[in-house]
Symmetry: C2
Subunit: 293 residues, 2 copies
């Protein structure tokens, strides 16, 4: 029997994202002992009962003892505090990674808190999730066929990147690397911007007159369009704050395009409207083909 890829794993923040990765590693026989860590002991007990973690502690400094890989899967707003708490306790060979949706802010925290252990930190972001959250919702196939983006720094050891890459590949993910800034621009466009637009629309409509009646006549298209407005408000507040620069850029670009589209409606410029709608439908068809291919 060969040794697993990660003899001892520490997962700080045991929810949907961290829990699903651990489950996938277990299923592949690529992880030994898993220590969970979090502030809510009931949640940790539940994670242990579910077989996601083998043991748990509530202090991140204790969680990283003897760890080969430390997965920081806490909300964006808490990552800095975790880095600060673990940095003096990391084993010499330990690799650290995270799963945050905005990388610039996480890397800034890492630069400020991890000192020379920055070389062992691999910023990561799995593009996966469901509208559910919590370890109960975790499942080993969450990452199968999904993309994971790593944004290693100039300082990052290549062995650290390779370990994290392999651990994601074991979970069935397609791993890419790109720069921190590029990641944040791409995600601002395809994820953070749509979330703000959907939240904004439902919030707007809820404050218009006859709002109850308005929703009464909404149909299936509206339900799909606003599904992401049912996401966790605190998590999305944190993402918007963490990626505010790229998000403001994306919002401004979108807003300018929307002004032009509004003008086309005002001018009854049918040719222009049809061209935009046609281009959008074609672009979406290419996107769907890409997802399937």
């Amino acid at each position: 029997m060969t040794a697993p890829l990660i003899p001892r794993l520490s997962v700080i923040g045991v929810g949907l994202i961290g829990g699903s990765w651990v489950r996938a590693l277990r299923l592949a026989g690529q992880v030994g002992h898993v220590v969970g860590c979090g502030r809510n002991e009931d949640n940790l007990k539940r994670a242990q009962q579910l077989g996601v973690i083998d043991s748990y502690v509530t202090d991140p400094a204790l969680a990283v003892v003897d760890a080969d890989l430390v997965v920081v899967a806490v909300p964006l707003g808490s990552i800095g505090a975790v880095f600060e708490r673990i940095v003096g306790h990391l084993p010499a060979a330990a690799v650290v990674t995270d799963v945050g949706s905005a990388k610039g802010a996480v890397v800034a925290e890492a630069r400020s808190k991890l000192g020379e252990r920055l070389a062992d930190f691999v910023p990561g972001h799995p593009i996966a999730g469901t509208e559910k959250s919590g370890v109960e919702a975790s499942f080993p196939d969450l990452y199968r066929g999904r993309r994971v983006i790593l944004t290693p720094l100039d300082e990052t050891r290549s062995e650290a990147v390779e370990l994290v890459r392999r651990a994601w590949q074991v979970a069935g993910a397609m791993v890419s690397t790109m720069s921190v800034a590029h990641h944040d621009e791409v995600l601002a466009a395809t994820s953070h911007l749509p979330h703000v637009l959907a939240y904004g629309l439902v919030d707007s409509l809820s404050r218009w007159t006859d709002r109850e009646e308005i929703f009464q006549y909404a149909a299936g298209g509206f339900r799909d369009f606003t599904r992401i407005a049912s996401s966790d408000p605190v998590m999305w507040r944190d993402i918007c704050l963490a990626n505010h620069e790229a998000l403001v850029d994306a919002l401004e670009r979108y807003s300018a395009d929307l002004d032009a589209l509004t003008e086309a409606v005002r001018q009854r410029d049918g040719e222009r409207l049809e061209a935009v709608f046609r281009n959008a439908r074609q672009a979406r068809e290419r996107f769907l083909a890409m997802l399937e291919g």
Copy 2:
């Protein structure tokens, strides 16, 4: 055996919307002979083979001969021409209705083309549909539990409204009446605005740099959010043109709210962002409860 509600029905434009209504009426035994009318004879043949219509003609003037109810289910841009062609051929007791998504423009055409037969016209709009179109996609349950809005005019005969209301109720729909202006405001908010936002987003992103890459990292949330951008560009061009006043109002209100939200991101106003996101999620939960209830 009692007589059906509609001994002879004329359906001008035999696609998803008209075809599904006829199928529901047939299933309930509430329609006698159904004459289909359209410009594409292959489509009419297919509708006859499918048992949706009993016979067909390509001239609307001939289609309405002896009709008790005339359903005009052609694209918004063609309704005026149909009115003009049928008005001199309508039987004395015939009732006319339509299924257009914007009522102000249809009513303007009716006022200009139907003359004294305006009293027999019942503007209607079923809030139902799928991303598919065409008679092949029609099915009798499309309207079950869905809303249909009628916007009768001061001139409309109450018996005409009652006939159309019953015909929709036979199909399982919940029928409401409201003013033309109010319909157009409500639909601008819950349907036309989201469509323009979704089309606009996909079009914007498709013109940003690295556009292929951008779509590569989009996930399920993006797919749901942009589903309505796969709708028929010509149909949506016509809806935007027909309802341009209410739609411009809705776009301007949304745009002002979006500017405020952008400012909150720029100022890193987490409290404000969380309040908006939280209100949106709660409003959407009420909306979903309404849909189910």
